[in-house]
């Protein structure tokens, strides 16, 4: 087991206006697992992901990764941990507009002051792996949305993170780009044995996971394990979404 989340909770606001975003959630994630976190809008998916990725602190509970309780670390050490062990893909890409594609991708390695040779090697490997060598000198505003998300994925993966966090990674993409990105993520998960935690409300996206947990009103409502057949898994996800509400059958990609 790589990640153990124990009884975490998080409130936003104070007193009467307080919102209980996460209520006493516990879960475990194995090394190399591709975990999906689903639920209707406002269920607490992003909050849960932010807490596991140390971008936010829980009010209560523990988050233990590889035996280390991250909630006990200082902000500075959390940032270091985040930089060295984790990668991030966001719906809004979070690419730096003032840097070009290459600079964006190598950013995590440069931040770690890696040597230039390693930077070039890893960059070339990632660009080949994701088949985007032709984009390296382009400015960010010259890329399509799909290309931006793949560049963001390359950045997230370049320093071989042990855990990849993806928050609605296909939210801004058309179905074709979404499929390409998900295939890449699945490939990375298998090839590099990277643990992936992905928050999504899209059943098609979630069907790429090995397991999906459903959150509703800040608690884990249920979970489904991929039986090995994606069509069946997709149906199970849709059914569960119907049960908890907030999901939409017609949200499914037309290309599926």
């Amino acid at each position: 087991m790589q990640i153990a989340v124990k009884n975490i909770s998080k409130d936003f606001g104070k007193n009467k206006t307080a919102v209980h975003a996460i209520k006493d959630i516990s879960l475990e994630v194995e090394h190399g697992e591709f975990l999906g976190i689903m639920g209707p809008s406002g269920a607490g998916k992003t909050t849960l992901l932010n807490m596991i990725s140390t971008n936010d602190r829980p009010d209560h509970g523990q988050i233990i990764i590889d035996g280390l309780d991250l909630t006990q670390l200082h902000d500075r050490d959390q940032a270091k941990y985040r930089r060295n062990k984790m990668g991030f893909i966001y719906q809004s890409f979070e690419l730096l507009d003032s840097l070009n594609v290459k600079e964006n991708v190598i950013l995590p390695l440069a931040l770690n002051r890696s040597n230039k040779k390693l930077i070039e090697e890893r960059f070339n490997y990632m660009m080949q792996l994701l088949n985007i060598e032709n984009l390296s000198a382009r400015a960010i505003d010259e890329l399509s949305l799909g290309q931006r998300q793949i560049v963001a994925a390359a950045r997230a993966m370049i320093n071989r993170p042990e855990i990849l966090f993806a928050d609605e990674p296909t939210g801004s993409l058309d179905s074709k780009s979404a499929t390409i990105l998900l295939n890449y993520m699945q490939m990375i998960n298998k090839k590099e044995q990277t643990t992936i935690l992905m928050a999504t409300h899209d059943a098609f996206t979630a069907s790429y996971c090995s397991r999906v947990i459903f959150i509703k009103d800040g608690v884990v409502f249920s979970e489904i394990v991929n039986p090995g057949n994606r069509d069946k898994f997709f149906e199970q996800i849709i059914n569960m979404q119907r049960t908890i509400g907030g999901g939409d059958y017609f949200n499914v990609s037309q290309n599926y």
Binding site: R82, R83, L96, S98, E103, I106, A110, L111, I119
Partner: protein
């Protein structure tokens, strides 16, 4: 209708709240300016000022009015310029309102009212500052002028009316300017294309800028030498003009050419750029510099102006003070003819004498070639022995060259208030005494330059004893505790003793044949060769006037310098705070992907340091020329360094505050 108005009110409230840090700085800077303007305006009208400084007549009122007008003008320009930053910052918001279907005139009206509200708040705080600090500032003025008088708080109806009028007119104009700016934003719509580094243009421009700045520095070195020629040559003026133009143009070209280019070069050196946050910070700072080059240049030139003003004021004050000190070194001085009367009067009013001095002098005829006037001169000269000279207080020798007991010292009037001619005199013939081969130079007259006519010579004791004299006299000098206390009546009585005696010099073919004829009575007809010996000399009212004038001068200069500093500091701070949305977003992104807060703080610190450091370094280099203008090269002493140091420290304080606020703003966005 009510709902709509409530919505507009919320929009304005939201805009003000979003930029609250920046608005607070702007409002405080404006309030400070309004407060100072009000204080200056009301001071001229204040009855206690009129009563305490009655013999300045309308001078204080006139100066206060002129200064407050000048202050208001510059403050208005500052407000109009800086207020535009906020409108620019709201560009996207205004365009979104229009996209959502809001009519243009409503958006323009919103911007108009937003400006009016900010101005109103600034005026309310400014007027409160006026009321709170008027007494304090008045007391400070009286303290600096060394006037022991109670400053009464006063704000006349006339001044109140003027203040309200200025408020109404300035607010209306500023709001209109911003409304027009908003209109232009809505009409243009297109965002400015990103400025690109054009190496082929920037590098030559920057190189030319450096050449200009270097040539300005070389010219400054020449100015140190040439400044003494200012009274008869146009060269120093041409040099000053050249230095000013070189500095102004050169600085801009260097900023334009090199600031982004240096970062561009650094960015291309991968071993540096691909290390840590440099990969981002070089580009980020380059973008910020592109946006701020004109402002950095503007602040540099104004800082140089502020430093130059301080330099002028310091040396101007020094020159006046020096002139006063050499003219009136004793509180009261007399000669042998008036000493008895003066002593009697002092005895009558029980003046507390702190120190009294007495020196014998001889008056003889001399002839020499004057280097400063470039003429052959024959005149009477007062001689004093070295030991008598040394027994006087040290302050009598302040402006004189140091001499030993075998050397000669010629003390003469300074031809210019500012520039001293430090060359020795040679071959001075003295009637019936050995020729003086070399005499050192000085301008501090013991007993004061007005105490007698012509130059003075300090000679070795032996020379003094042996030399004959056409006229002998004795000078007396007194220092008192709390002044000489001579009443007006006593002074009227002493008035008839102002001139002790008159000397008519009969110049013949040689010095030996020439002689001095002493006359007790004032001659009916003054001729060129008739000289007057003063009976007594009194600091009295002149001392008072100098202290008060100096205090008033210091008050005004300090106010203007602080105001300039506040204006420049706030402009830079606001430029740093008002980042474009995407620039703030990028910092947030860095945090999200695991950049430590301390590293992001480092980027903000670097940006802040660059923004504040560059102008002050260039401004100090330029202000150096101001020192050169006074030819006091060897006097660039502690005082001017202290003045510059004080300015730099206050400026640095602004930099520090700016960094703190800037980081606070960024951190607030992190927690969103």
């Amino acid at each position: 209708m009510g709902v709509t108005i409530s919505m507009y009110r919320k929009i304005i409230k939201r805009s003000l709240s979003n930029m609250r840090d920046s608005y607070v700085i702007y409002i405080l800077a404006c309030s400070f300016a309004i407060g100072i303007f009000g204080i200056l305006l009301s001071m001229g009208d204040n009855p206690s000022v009129h009563l305490a400084l009655h013999w300045w007549d309308n001078f204080i009122y006139d100066i206060s009015s002129i200064m407050s007008g000048l202050f208001a003008f510059f403050a208005f320009i500052y407000m109009a310029y800086v207020d535009g930053f906020f409108i620019k910052q709201q560009r996207n918001e205004f365009l979104t309102f229009e996209k959502l279907g809001m009519q243009r005139w409503i958006i323009v009206t919103l911007s108009f009212f937003q400006t009016a509200i900010v101005q109103a708040v600034a005026w309310i705080i400014g007027l409160s500052l006026l009321l709170i600090f008027q007494k304090f500032m008045g007391m400070l003025l009286f303290f600096l002028m060394q006037v022991r008088f109670n400053f009464e708080m006063y704000l006349g109806w006339d001044n109140l009316y003027i203040l309200l009028e200025v408020f109404a007119v300035s607010t209306l104009i500023l709001s209109l300017i911003n409304a027009i700016k908003t209109m232009r934003i809505l009409q243009k719509k297109k965002t400015k294309p990103l400025v690109k580094t054009r190496w082929w243009l920037r590098i030559p421009a920057g190189a030319f800028g450096i050449i200009l700045l270097l040539s300005a520095q070389i010219c400054t070195a020449y100015l140190f030498k040439d400044m003494r020629m200012i009274s008869y040559s146009g060269k120093p003026l041409a040099e000053i003009f050249y230095i000013m133009m070189d500095d102004i143009v050169g600085t801009y070209l260097v900023y334009y050419g090199f600031l982004p280019s240096i970062l561009d070069i650094m960015e291309r050196i991968h071993s540096v750029a691909y290390s840590g946050v440099n990969i981002f910070s070089f580009k980020y700072m380059k973008e910020r510099l592109f946006q701020n080059i004109s402002i950095l240049w503007f602040v540099t030139e104004l800082s140089a102006l502020a430093l130059a003003l301080l330099t002028f004021c310091y040396f101007g004050y020094q020159a006046v003070h020096q002139n006063y000190n050499s003219a009136y070194p004793f509180e009261l001085a007399a000669n042998k003819d008036t000493v008895k009367v003066i002593r009697d009067e002092l005895h009558k009013n029980k003046a507390k004498v702190k120190g009294s001095y007495k020196t014998e002098v001889k008056i003889n005829l001399v002839s020499y070639y004057s280097k400063s006037n470039q003429t052959y001169t024959r005149q009477p000269m007062t001689f004093m022995s070295y030991s008598a000279y040394k027994s006087l207080p040290k302050r009598m020798r302040k402006g004189n060259s140091k001499i030993n007991s075998h050397q000669f010292l010629k003390i003469d009037y300074n031809s210019s208030l500012m520039y001293s001619n430090h060359t020795n005199e040679h071959d001075i013939e003295v009637k019936n005494a050995p020729m003086i081969q070399t005499a050192k130079w000085g301008y501090s007259f013991p007993y004061g330059s007005s105490m007698h006519f012509g130059p003075m010579m300090i000679v070795p004791d032996k020379y003094y004893q042996k030399m004959p004299a056409e006229v002998t006299d004795t000078f007396y000098g007194w220092d008192f505790k709390k002044g000489d206390r001579l009443s007006r009546k006593q002074l009227q009585k002493l008035n008839s003793y102002r001139d002790a005696y008159y000397m008519k010099v009969n110049f013949k073919s040689s010095l030996e044949k020439s002689n001095i004829e002493v006359m007790k009575k004032e001659p009916n007809k003054y001729e060129a060769a008739i000289y007057t010996q003063s009976g007594f000399l009194r600091q009295g009212s002149i001392k008072k006037r100098l202290k008060q004038g100096g205090g008033f001068y210091l008050f005004i200069v300090a106010l203007f310098s602080v105001a300039l500093l506040v204006a420049l500091g706030s402009v830079l701070t606001l430029r740093i705070l008002l980042r474009d949305d995407y620039q703030s977003r990028q910092l947030r992104t860095l945090q999200k992907i695991g950049v430590e807060e301390s590293e992001i703080k480092g980027i903000i610190r670097r940006e802040n340091t660059l923004t504040f450091l560059i102008p002050i370094v260039f401004a100090s280099l330029q202000a150096y020329a101001a020192i050169a203008m006074f030819d006091f090269g060897h006097h660039i002493s502690k005082n001017i360094i202290l003045i510059y140091g004080g300015y730099v420290i206050l400026y640095g304080l602004f930099g520090l505050i700016s960094f703190k606020i800037s980081w606070r703003g960024v951190k607030q966005k992190f927690s969103l």
